[in-house]
């Protein structure tokens, strides 16, 4: 079942919003408007958009260091995210967290690899205990698979039967370390070892991810059991800023062959695409400039005593 035309354009809008947000971040980082560092989601947009377009209101998302795409696909405000990266009082967490530490409604992220996995699992347990309809979606990367706590948590999730979908975005590189040098054996096998059902996709097509995750999320909702989705994907940008050690020629080819915007954009007319892109660009530019104007927070020793 393919989504209707309106859904096609909505998906493209979401993809492009993330793409343009992240491009704006990388473009402006050298100008000194942001603090610290950042990890962009360029190339992986179809994962967040395809999965999170199925979210229901009480659902919970726990993301990682590369969280901008997840946050925006969750419905987060680009201005609040720009402001957070700029360390402004209007940021998602008032400038306290920065790029990797976001919390808004039922969206959470943290910057330590693996540590979010038990917490997301515990959230799913809590929702099960409370008999709530909510489910949890936790995003991991291939690099995270090196952390032992991931396996402790998968074991517990399987034993205690909690409603969670683990999504591994295997972008084939952890900072600068290729997956072949860091992950032995199969990624899916890590889930089946604990008796957790897993599906694996090798695609950048948002529709395929959308359809597959619909099936998985419906199962998690109905059976209240943990499941996993492994998405073999591509990170187009550097790990953070300017730290890409990969061959530029290879990267250029991947960006032609696996760009989720090119793949899904082909389903829209040039006029439709241009209209969406123009609107989103205006929106993102406005958000960026508003965030620039926003005030910095002030540390209050009294409040923090």
């Amino acid at each position: 079942m393919l989504p209707a035309k309106a859904a096609h354009t909505a998906l493209y809008r979401s993809l492009y919003r993330i793409r343009h947000f992240e491009e704006t971040v990388l473009e402006n980082f050298p100008k000194g408007v942001f603090f610290g560092t950042t990890h962009t989601y360029l190339g992986q947009e179809a994962n967040a958009v395809g999965i999170l377009s199925h979210l229901q209101q009480p659902d919970i998302v726990f993301s990682n260091h590369r969280c901008h795409g997840h946050f925006l696909a969750y419905g987060g405000d680009p201005r609040a995210l720009f402001a957070e990266l700029m360390g402004k009082a209007t940021g998602v967490c008032g400038g306290r967290g920065g790029s990797q530490h976001l919390q808004w409604r039922n969206f959470y992220s943290n910057g330590v690899q693996g540590g979010i996995v038990p917490i997301a699992t515990g959230m799913a347990l809590a929702e099960k205990i409370k008999d709530s309809p909510a489910i949890v979606i936790a995003f991991l990367g291939d690099g995270t698979l090196g952390e032992g706590i991931v396996y402790e948590s998968l074991n517990i999730a399987a034993l205690w039967e909690v409603p969670i979908l683990y999504v591994v975005e295997n972008n084939r590189i952890a900072q600068t370390t290729p997956v072949e040098q860091a992950v032995a054996g199969s990624i899916s096998g890590r889930f089946t070892a604990f008796g957790l059902p897993v599906l694996e996709l090798d695609t950048s097509d948002v529709l395929l991810i959308h359809e597959t995750s619909h099936i998985l999320l419906s199962e998690v909702r109905q059976k209240r059991l943990a499941q996993a989705l492994v998405l073999n994907t591509y990170r187009f940008g550097p790990h953070s800023k300017g730290d890409d050690t990969r061959d530029p020629e290879v990267m250029a080819r991947l960006q032609v062959e696996h760009d989720p915007l090119l793949i899904h954009g082909g389903r829209l007319s040039a006029t439709e695409r241009n209209a969406i892109e123009s609107e989103v660009r205006q929106e993102i530019e406005a958000d960026f400039h508003q965030a620039l104007e926003d005030p910095f927070p002030v540390f209050d020793p009294q409040e923090n005593a």
Binding site: H101, V112, G115, V117, P118, L125, A126, I129, E152
Partner: protein, 356 residues
Amino acid sequence: MTTVLESLNSALHQAFTADERVYLLGEDILDPYGGAFKVTDGLSSAFPGRVLTTPISEASLVGVATGMALRGLRPVVEIMFGDFLTLAADQIINHAAKFRWMYNEQVRVPMLIRTPMGGRRGYGPTHSQTLEKLFLGIPGLQVLAPCALSAPAQTGVPQSLAAGGPGDLLYRAILTTEDPLLFIENKLLYLQPVQDENSLGEYEVRLQPGKDGTTRTPWAPAYSLILRAAPPPSLTIAAYGYMAELARQAARQLAYEQEIFTELVILTQLAPCSMQPVLDSLKRTKRLLAVEEGTLTLGWGAEVLGRAAEALGPGLKACGRVAAQETPVPASGALENSVLPGVTDIFSAAIQLNRL
């Protein structure tokens, strides 16, 4: 008299009865075993479904509890030996303790981690440590340590929950904490009776609620013990946990054998640092001895002395510390007695300080 163990066990039962959001996670905590030190005895029978026995996965179970706390429950975690807290350090420091502040006060993590610490049982280097100093000074993390004292039980209150006692401390912490809280139970305290000013007839016992503005647990008290009818004390001894018991024995010996009179100040809140009761005592005595079971370097006692020096300046006549030797804790009782601080060490250090 109720023992510390009975008091803690009773507090868990009462907390489970009082609030259905309270859950317990830990290793080997189900009946009939009821936990390695039996603090959780009977809970799984009384509250089936709310006591979750876990795999041997300390890091993950603290994380799972953090997730439960973020979503509105009040989980209690038992870490079988305090030594194993290091396995969960990332979850405690980089996750649970960070979230409230890092997420701009938008969330709360009402999770309590209970764990037995300390030696003198011959368990050897990895099951006998006093490691709480590693977790002091972590923003967002409270650390409490009960002692074997309470106020006299009020009418209608079970003795196990007498105000300020270990049961009361645990009960209130489980039900009211808004932040992750480490609850340090010294193993040798478990079988001690919980005493009050009636049973400790020769001491004047004053209980002061924590209130110096930094505390998030205003009911975590400090105790002050002075021998009745003794001359004014010339030395403040600061201690917590089981060391407070040893310090009380030393204080008695100092009075009767050396005519050195002391005020023993026992804290139950270790973090956030709440030192006012010690400073109040020092205004009278001008001399300070801090005793702890952990190793000396960069320990709790160093912070006590630092705060005292800042507050009193030249008014502080003398100060010193008693702590463990800088080695792992040996298994052999003969060695362990030499490594861990005892009554004699406190006694000798007090005599030295009193000469200055």
